[in-house]
């Protein structure tokens, strides 16, 4: 299997597109280097044998916390932080 601890330009561009970030060519080149160094430092985690270990999503168990099905109206102005609106709707960018 290919060494997954390596990163290249194509991958950085693909990821930044998925994450909606415009990276300049300089930035892409720099990230390839920096992220490459970081991954190199991280690769030692491969050495740890985690056979049979459950993933810890929280450091202590967080289980069965919920609320009853009751409606409560929030008195607030959803537009308090946005001027991009029209007729009570939020205005957003087009799809295509």
């Amino acid at each position: 299997m290919e060494d997954y601890w390596k990163i290249n330009e194509e991958l950085v561009r693909h990821i930044s597109k998925a994450a909606k970030l415009n990276l300049s060519d300089d930035e892409v080149a720099r990230y390839v280097r920096e992220v490459g160094d970081i991954l190199d430092a991280f690769r030692q985690i491969d050495k740890v044998d985690v056979g049979g270990e459950e993933p810890a999503f929280h450091p202590l168990p967080v289980e069965n916390r919920w609320r009853e099905d009751e409606e409560k109206k929030t008195e607030w102005d959803p537009f308090s932080n946005s001027e991009s609106r029209e007729d009570g709707y939020f205005k957003g960018p087009k799809i295509i």
Binding site: F57, N64, R67, D69, T74, W76, D87, F90, K91
Partner: protein
């Protein structure tokens, strides 16, 4: 050519509040963005808290679908950017969903269920100055954002669009009977479908509302794919959108081989552990499912299975209405009631474009109506006319019948029969010549003149009498 169709049904659960916050889920009378709060709008610092009822409803549905309920389940974040996403990730269940496996029997077909899981609804978009492909900007209403959805995914077991539709109708009835879904709410059931033919590429047709549209969309898509195959072209793996106006599917975007949603377990939410006891408790409290109801109704009320099925599957409220008539009002002839409901009442309701629930029909007045027929106060023929006015106005049938009698002038039947005979010499001759239909014709003429109020037998007697006397 072998067709494979799979469905993903998104059902909006009829909880009072949203999945992760306390906003109301009922926005029918609300202004846009009225039922929102920092949580469903994804404001920085906000945190979700699970609505317990949504889990209970999920357990009920999974039980009804014979599905294996997870004893411990988790929520996941599914990341993708879109203007209808409050956080640009959707909280759903990926690796460990509510339930796996299961089946639904629809006629002869056993539809296998792949999985059932809970997730939150995105916001609603409207496209200004065009449609999704060419509008200049979008308008976003977050009232729907965060509403609880149950997603039911089937295996690609459907071979025809009709089978898919039949499944949806049955599923819808089941969900309605369980009580977790309100079909009167807009777009309560949304369907994504996957279609492929002859082992070719899978095409996704997204976000179809209405079962008739699902059938149409699938029908169109199969024809389209077949057409491509005949020209030795393959259908592209893509996502298409159903345009109800033109009844066609249109390409939306090319589907990347399994879009990368970068799933992680949602660290703001707890795991949900269900004990055997808690699952059993919810399952035991489950209301009667449609199949069970059909069996019980036909058994208890002496209906044949077909009648029971129509009552139960057309509209749950119709079956409720029937049972209310027979139990609460202790109507003595259930098959008769069923007959009138199915063959006449339903027609009038459809004509008025209302369902029984929103109509003016009430069990009390309907029983009255049946009573008028049973006692011979009105003829069956007249009843079939009267029912239309009754459905339209909701006024007591007795009252309506009396009004009609008062408002129509007293019928001089002899006069009318005499007039018909004199103006239909040829029919009289034909009848004398042995043509029974000529008699029926004349009876019909008289009936029309009397606004169908006169008794056909009485008319027949009179005609025969007058003809023989005229000799």
């Amino acid at each position: 050519m072998e067709v494979m169709i799979g469905l993903e049904v998104h059902c909006q659960l009829a909880t009072r509040s949203k999945l992760f916050c306390s906003d109301s889920t009922d926005s029918r009378e609300s202004a846009p963005n009225e039922n929102t709060c920092p949580i469903c709008l994804g404001f920085p610092g906000s945190k979700p808290v699970v609505n317990r009822k949504a889990i209970d409803y999920g357990i009920m549905v999974a039980t009804a679908l014979n599905s294996n309920i997870a004893r411990r389940m988790y929520f996941s974040r599914k990341s993708y950017f879109y203007p209808d996403m409050a956080k640009n990730f959707q909280v759903t269940q990926y690796e460990i969903p509510l339930a796996l496996g299961g089946y639904v029997e629809v006629g002869d077909l056993k539809v296998r269920i792949r999985r059932v899981h809970m997730e939150e609804d995105p916001a609603k978009l409207s496209y200004v100055g065009g449609d999704i492909t060419n509008s200049k900007y979008v308008l976003i209403d977050y009232n729907r954002a965060g509403a609880p959805l149950l997603e039911i995914v089937t295996e690609p077991d459907f071979k025809t669009p009709q089978q898919a539709r039949a499944f949806l109708e049955k599923l819808s009835s089941m969900l309605e009977h369980i009580g977790i879904y309100d079909p009167s709410r807009e777009a309560s059931l949304r369907v994504d479908s996957n279609v492929s033919i002859e082992g070719g590429n899978r095409v996704e047709v997204k976000n179809i509302t209405g079962f008739a549209n699902v059938e149409k969309a699938l029908g169109y898509e199969i024809v389209r794919q077949r057409g491509l195959l005949r020209m030795n072209m393959k259908a592209v793996m893509e996502t298409r959108h159903f345009d109800a106006a033109t009844r066609t599917t249109k390409s939306l975007r090319k589907k990347e081989a399994e879009a990368d949603y970068g799933y992680i377990f949602d660290p703001d939410l707890p795991s949900i552990t269900l004990s055997e006891a808690s699952i059993k408790k919810v399952a035991d409290a489950m209301p009667e499912l449609p199949d069970q109801r059909v069996a019980r109704i036909s058994g208890s009320y002496g209906l044949d299975e077909y009648q029971a099925k129509v009552l139960v599957y057309t509209d749950k409220n119709l079956a409720d209405f029937f049972e209310e008539c027979c139990t609460r009002y202790a109507y003595k002839d259930p098959p008769h009631a069923a007959n009138w409901i199915i063959n006449y009442l339903l027609k009038s309701l459809n004509w008025n474009m209302t369902a029984i629930k929103g109509s003016k029909v009430r069990a009390g007045t309907f029983i009255e109506f049946l009573g008028l027929i049973d006692s011979g106060t009105i003829t069956e023929r007249y009843a079939k006319e009267l029912i239309k006015e009754y459905v339209d106005t909701g006024i007591s049938p007795t009252e309506l019948a009396e009004r009609n009698i008062r408002s129509t002038p007293k019928i001089n039947l002899e006069e009318i029969v005499s007039a018909i005979i004199s103006s239909n010499r040829q029919a009289v001759e034909e009848f004398k010549g042995g043509n029974a239909r000529a008699l029926q014709f004349m009876i019909g003429q008289v009936l029309a003149k009397t606004n169908k109020q006169a008794d056909p037998n009485a008319i027949k007697e009179l005609i025969l009498k007058m003809i023989s006397e005229a000799k």
